[in-house]
Amino acid sequence: MADAAKTPPAKPAKAAPKKFMYVNRRAPYGTIYALESLEVVLIGAAFDQEVALAFIDDGVFQLTKGQDTKPLGVKNFSPTFRALGDYGVTKLYVEKESLQERGLTIADLQAVTYEDENDGFKEKPSIQVLTRAEMGAIMQKQDVLLNF
């Protein structure tokens, strides 16, 4: 809406960006959904929309640090989360209750940061811990929710 307001009246108004949310509810490696969801996020980053990732339920397991898939012979995709900032994807919402139920704290997750170009490229955390109530409220504000 703010964008549209700034557009000069003569030009056709550019569509306001939509709010895309990728909802991650599944653990990594047991199934491919976490990996293939992340592949969509990377492609989607080029489209100039508002993007957020939600990690709830077993989705919080996607962000654990120290993942080592060598003994399994499968690809370790957890470092890709740390590259998301370079793609302009800087909102990773992690649900507090989902962590607690699984015996985890934020210290068990890898650090994911981005450089804020509006604040002298200061390094800031991408992960925000939200309560379940906050998460539910944010979900309802989205335009497009992608679950895999």
Binding site: V23, R25, Y33, I56, D57, R132, M135, G136, A137, M139, Q140, K141, Q142, D143, V144, L145, N147, F148
Partner: protein, 102 residues
């Protein structure tokens, strides 16, 4: 701007319904499809979750999935709405967004 939540898994096997109910906001719609329709049964170990939200959420069940599974309206929690695929389409268009709790 309310939202449509679709649940396609049995609440006895999977946590999808339980999680959706914990995140749904007042006024949202919950649609049970596929194996999700088992969540509509009354008198089960799972019925309490829906019963607790019967006032501030609206509940819908896809009738084609119910009849495929041999379930009749009399076996369901009271106050749920049976709909067909056309009704499913209407739920999608009358809510701002939809989320599939896969």
């Amino acid at each position: 701007m309310t939202m449509l939540h679709t649940i396609n898994k049995s609440p006895f096997e999977n946590n999808a319904l339980s999680s959706a109910l914990k995140h749904a906001q007042k006024g949202d719609a919950i649609l049970l499809i596929e194996d999700g329709v088992y969540g509509a049964l009354k008198g089960t170990t799972a019925s309490g979750d829906i019963w607790a939200r019967r006032v501030d959420l609206r509940f819908y069940v896809l009738s084609a999935d119910l009849s495929a599974r041999g379930l009749a309206k009399g076996q369901l929690i009271e106050g749920l709405n049976l709909i067909d695929y056309a009704g499913f389409v209407d739920l999608v268009t009358t809510h701002k967004s939809s989320q599939a709790w896969l």
